[in-house]
Symmetry: C2
Subunit: 173 residues, 2 copies
């Protein structure tokens, strides 16, 4: 799964946390699954907004750090340049490749986790990371995560097009 | 995001569909976000079970094919060897690297999508794909998907350990 940094205001201050329990719900809604022990959850509930930031490999140390230290004990925001968009209360990270600004639409209450679902109101990306007007993930260099051994992986090569390579199979049947 | 094949019984027959709108909710629950036009949704609602299968690159054509053709018009099950686990009603694909057998715990109703959340009751993996007793994704060779240009990508190299590489940053602050 791709590593993200979730952003929210907690007690009026930006806070960022490393989250890999992400999901795509429908074409405009994403989810963050967050243990209830986290400092960030209260901020999302209070403001009804959050951001999902996709860091590049270049931010690997800062990204890991945001998963090591709680916002309760340290102001992690000093690591990054913060900007705001339309929603005003969803802090985003300039150093990240892609930023999605989300309005909370639903919270699913698990025994130990809150799953926050957010409708994406705007997406931001550095123009240098676009090809043909859309995000080019070979330029983004997202950080992928495997929980089994707690490791970070790179995105590999593009090898085929979807809704395409199965066509031959269809013909030969 | 990783490409998966969702499995369910529809009218008593196994059916598989290519799904990339997946999510991790908490440590034991995953989600499938599925357009309401799909044939599979009724089967998940009826049985209260489904499977999430992770195909390897070796299954790229079959995986793509399951996203091209609806179960309404063709019996896609002939492409694979099907097996069942504890739940009896969640068909799984032998050719896939990893299979998760899920019990439906919650459905979130979006305007055009059903998001099915399933608690994983068992996970299956070919022993040849394990290293040290856990799934080795360098052996699995999952298929990753980018929606922008509808392309399939390979997993790249492992480059660092999590909850680790940020430590140095902590020291230098």
């Amino acid at each position: 799964m791709p590593i993200t940094l979730g952003g929210t205001l907690v007690n009026g201050k930006p806070n960022y946390i490393t989250i890999v329990h992400v999901g795509i719900m429908d074409h405009g809604t994403v989810s963050l699954g967050m243990s209830k022990v986290h400092y960030t959850n209260a901020g999302i509930k209070e403001n009804g907004t959050f951001s999902v930031n996709i860091p590049s490999k270049a931010c690997e140390r800062e990204t890991d750090y945001c998963g090591l230290v709680s916002g309760k004990s340290l102001d992690k925001v000093a690591l990054f340049r913060t900007f705001y968009g339309k929603l005003k209360t969803a802090p985003m990270i300039e150093e990240c490749a892609v930023n999605m600004e989300c309005r909370l639409t639903e919270t699913v209450d698990f025994p130990n986790h809150d799953v926050f679902m957010g409708q994406i109101t705007a997406t931001y990306c550095d123009e240098a990371l676009l090809t043909g007007g859309t995000v080019d993930f070979s330029k983004v260099q997202p950080i992928l995560f495997v929980m089994n051994d707690r490791s970070y992986w790179m995105l590999g090569k593009k090898f085929a097009m979807a809704w395409n390579i199965g066509n031959n199979l269809k013909i030969t049947e």
